[in-house]
């Protein structure tokens, strides 16, 4: 690793000597939809200099991924049409034959993708898949390819590379698979690497490692990187120049710092306004709405301050004591129990009326299982949950049904959580009718009212889920959750799948609803920046346990537990000035909460740092 990366990646200086690696001019890509050609990328032009990183940023449907796939010519030929020119090293890729293009792919330009879990072929060993990238472009012999593959695996810092050559993709974690993908892309020392959302599906600490790895490898190999992402934090961390795409067009491009500080286009400003920034809540007591920028005019609406909704005088609406949920692992002829996943281990917290408590942590930390255990969607092993007068874990089926009126859930995927064959009025009215709270007519009136409260218009009433966008669907899911007038809402990654601008709107909506209905939220999320924005208190979970819990300001300004610190350090900061800062390239993996049968649960003690701020010893 070189001490000062900015010298080697100085694009302007190199540009004077050699031409761009990639030069895209007037790129227009159309898809054949129902017999009509519809353009999804229109007239996009940009250049990538040797050693430079260019980011294309945009929300879903902006055409950023289609742009990258057009460059690689990986779109289905029968249903797509690419116009314009894509010059790579002086060669127009769009005029090459399929055979010639195949020689370019994986050789001069390589690509890594968003989904490391599904981007590797499950039935071939990873060694074989990497060496294939070597052998299909050269006459390298098998032993040579093997040696080179091991070298590549070491280069992407996969521990114990030689031993892992013959392992299959499922034996690797998400982060490790992405390293394998990178190794494969580097195989033929490409001049250009296209990285299409390479860290979006990864946990935040793993994302930090992969971003650093790409930066280091870029220096070592001297390649140019075209980085596709929706995450402004990632853009700020990696790119020299940035292109903002909106609805198929490049609306703005320029040096990254200029885009961030002097963005001209209203959309750029809207996008940046909606980006949650870690540390932006210093000195504030309550959650804060996002400012909303009008995409047409660029005018910013200053958010209204939220009121203090928390009522700590009454007893907590939700009390969780020593909650433990384990999933047995059974193997062998007679399904003997050989271990257990300690998904939730001795978790205790209170939630007051009008309060938002966030559970944060990375995948497998048990935050979702905690939410499901409280609503008894999974059966906890032990503990006590007191919700609005119900002793949740001891309820008979009828009482359990009644209890669910007090607690409702909103899930992550707005596409999968609505029944596609039910019109939305039926969807929203269903809980009301199922609990026999009134007549069909009342249910309908209630549904109309809720629809308006979540910001949709009543005339959308009889439509079906497919007619709505992701953000609108999440609003419908929220309306459905509200139809029973619950006291507590468990929002399980409810805004994680949404685009930034939509995310900001839905967060604002949740804050409005909290104020209007005096709701308590158990906000489950991996996104530290959003959590900072919405919560009154925060609990950090690690391997099924709460390692730190306290008022939001205390946890964020004065994190005590090592894991909390790691988590916060890993969050990309949308500030280009911090670009040179690297974390470290130490390869770590998330630990697993799988324990053997004879595992002795350690006794935990909590230390009170300041009032209400506890940290596990």
């Amino acid at each position: 690793m070189r001490a000062n990366p900015s010298i080697t990646t100085q694009p302007d200086r190199i540009a004077g000597i050699v031409g761009p690696v990639l030069s895209v001019d007037g790129l227009t890509t159309s898809f054949l939809v129902d017999g009509v050609w519809k353009s999804v990328v229109r007239n996009v032009s940009f250049e990538v200099m040797p050693g430079e990183t260019v980011a294309i940023v945009g929300e879903s449907g902006s055409g950023k991924s289609v742009t990258s796939l057009s460059i690689m010519r990986l779109l289905a030929k029968a249903t797509s049409r690419i116009e314009g020119s894509v010059i790579l090293n002086g060669q127009n890729l769009l005029s090459l034959s399929d055979r010639q293009m195949r020689d370019i792919r994986g050789n001069d330009v390589a690509m890594i993708f968003q989904e490391p879990m599904t981007s590797l072929n499950p039935i071939f060993t990873i060694g074989r898949q990497i060496s294939e990238a070597l052998t299909c472009h050269s006459t390298m012999s098998q032993p040579e390819a093997r040696a080179e593959t091991i070298r590549l695996l070491e280069k992407v810092r996969i521990p114990n590379a030689a031993a892992r050559f013959d392992e299959y993709p499922h034996q690797f974690s998400g982060g490790m698979r992405q390293r394998v993908m990178i190794a494969m892309a580097l195989a033929s020392r490409p001049k250009l690497l296209i990285a299409d959302e390479p860290t979006t599906a990864l946990d935040v600490t793993i994302q930090g490692q992969i971003l650093d790895l790409i930066k280091v490898l870029q220096e070592e190999e001297g390649m140019a990187v075209l980085f596709i992402t929706h995450d402004m934090g990632v853009v700020a961390e990696v790119s020299d120049r940035t292109i903002v795409m909106y609805r198929g067009e490049a609306v703005e491009s320029g040096p990254t710092a200029d885009i961030f500080h002097r963005g001209q286009h209203p959309y750029t400003r809207a996008l940046l306004a909606a980006v949650p920034r870690l540390g932006s809540m210093q000195g504030r007591n309550w959650p804060l709405r996002f400012p909303i920028v009008d995409i047409k005019t660029g005018e910013t609406t200053i958010p209204i301050e939220v009121a203090d909704t928390v009522d700590k005088r009454k007893t907590p609406i939700l009390e969780v004591r020593n909650l433990t949920t384990r999933f047995d692992i059974r193997t062998g002829l007679f399904s003997r129990k050989t271990g257990a996943i300690h998904a939730v281990e001795n978790v205790s917290f209170d939630l007051f009326q009008g309060e938002t408590l966030s559970l944060v942590g990375e995948s497998g930390c048990g935050k979702s299982t905690t939410g499901r255990s409280i609503t008894r969607l999974v059966q906890p092993n032990s503990g006590e949950v007191l919700l609005d007068g119900y002793n949740v874990l001891n309820l008979d089926p009828i009482a359990l049904r009644n209890m669910r009126k007090s607690i409702q859930m909103i899930f992550q995927d707005p596409f999968a959580s609505l029944n596609p064959r039910m019109s939305i009025d039926a969807t929203i009215a269903e809980p009301f009718i199922a609990h026999r709270l009134g007549t069909q007519k009342q249910a309908r009136e209630k549904a109309v009212d809720l629809l308006e409260r979540v910001g949709l218009s009543a005339d959308m009433f009889s439509r079906y889920p497919h007619e709505f966008s992701g953000g609108q669907r999440q609003r419908i899911a929220i309306a459905r959750a509200l139809s029973l007038d619950p006291k507590v809402i468990v929002a399980d990654e409810s805004v994680s799948a949404l685009d930034v601008s939509i995310k900001a709107q839905v967060v604002n909506l949740l804050l409005d609803l909290q104020q209007n209905f005096n709701l308590s939220f158990l906000f489950i999320s991996h996104d530290m920046a959003v959590v900072e924005r919405v919560s009154h208190r925060v609990a950090v979970m690690y391997l099924g346990e709460i390692v730190e819990i306290g008022p939001r300001a205390a946890v964020f300004n004065n994190p005590q537990h090592a894991y909390t610190k790691t988590l916060m350090d890993a969050v990309p900061i949308p500030d280009p000035a911090r670009r040179a800062i690297k974390r470290n390239t130490v390869t770590t993996e998330l630990k697993s909460p799988v324990r053997p049968v004879d595992y002795e649960i350690p006794q935990r003690a909590y230390l009170e740092v300041t009032k209400g701020h506890f940290v596990q010893q």
Binding site: R105, N107, M111, I123, M184
Partner: protein, 315 residues
Amino acid sequence: MYTYIGKRLLLAIPTLIIISIFAFSLQKLLPGDPILAMAGEERDPQVLEFLRDKYRLNDPVIVQYFYWIGSVLRGDFGISLRTNQPVLSLIAEKLPVTIQLAVMAMTFAFAIGVPIGIVAAVKKNTVVDYIANIVALSGLSVPNFWMGIMLILLVSVKLGWLPASGYEPFFRDPIRSLQTMIMPAFVLGLALAATLMRHTRSSMLTVLGADYIRTARAKGVSERSVILRHTFRNALLPIITMTALLFGELLAGAVLTEQIFTIPGFGKLIVDAVFNRDYAVVQGVVLCTGAGFILMNLVADVLSILLNPRMRAAL
């Protein structure tokens, strides 16, 4: 792996018991009295009573079942009422015929159905795909017996290339055996080929849409290798399962085809037995084909595990 197979074999026991109960109750459910069928012209009540006693038909049904299942477990499937041969030796005689027919039919089905399925998937929504689909649909729709008769007319009667009917055990005269079997196997295989083709096509299309196929293309792998190595190897898993299940069905015998080509297989055996109220044979054959089907199911599952590294590792 062995644990898994052991577990599956244990699980097969209750299934077999249910099949045995079903096979046994056939004789109680079907109209007609086996004793009358057996006695022929004899109508002397004493004789009939003697026969009833001899075959324990006067005992309670449950007791009869346990007598029957007890002897089955000792390898005694009873005596055919019609031919007086032990049922087991009848089955042993017909089983190789049925297996040979099934293997050959399956080979045809695989050799025809899978390549066409691959081509149809690769050339999706083109003329090639449409033709493949039409052919497959015709293969499914044309009745076996019609196809069989037409083949006999053309190949045997008109051209005289192959014998129209008959059977020759494989180990006595392999060439003659293949000659007699080739037409019935083809007829049987054609319908299965259509099923396999549709299955292969949809399985290939699913895999072609997978992210790792895009990865392979981005790597610059040749299209041939993308299709055959990366896609087909993955698409094969459900095809193998399907093949094993179809094979299990073939083991039950192909009544019509066997009749047309006069092949002495399971199909012919069971039809003859049913018409003659030869219950011991019916029961034996039903039990055997049931067991065969369970076995093929197990084979299908084991194969799909062996082909899938992830499942392999889980065992």
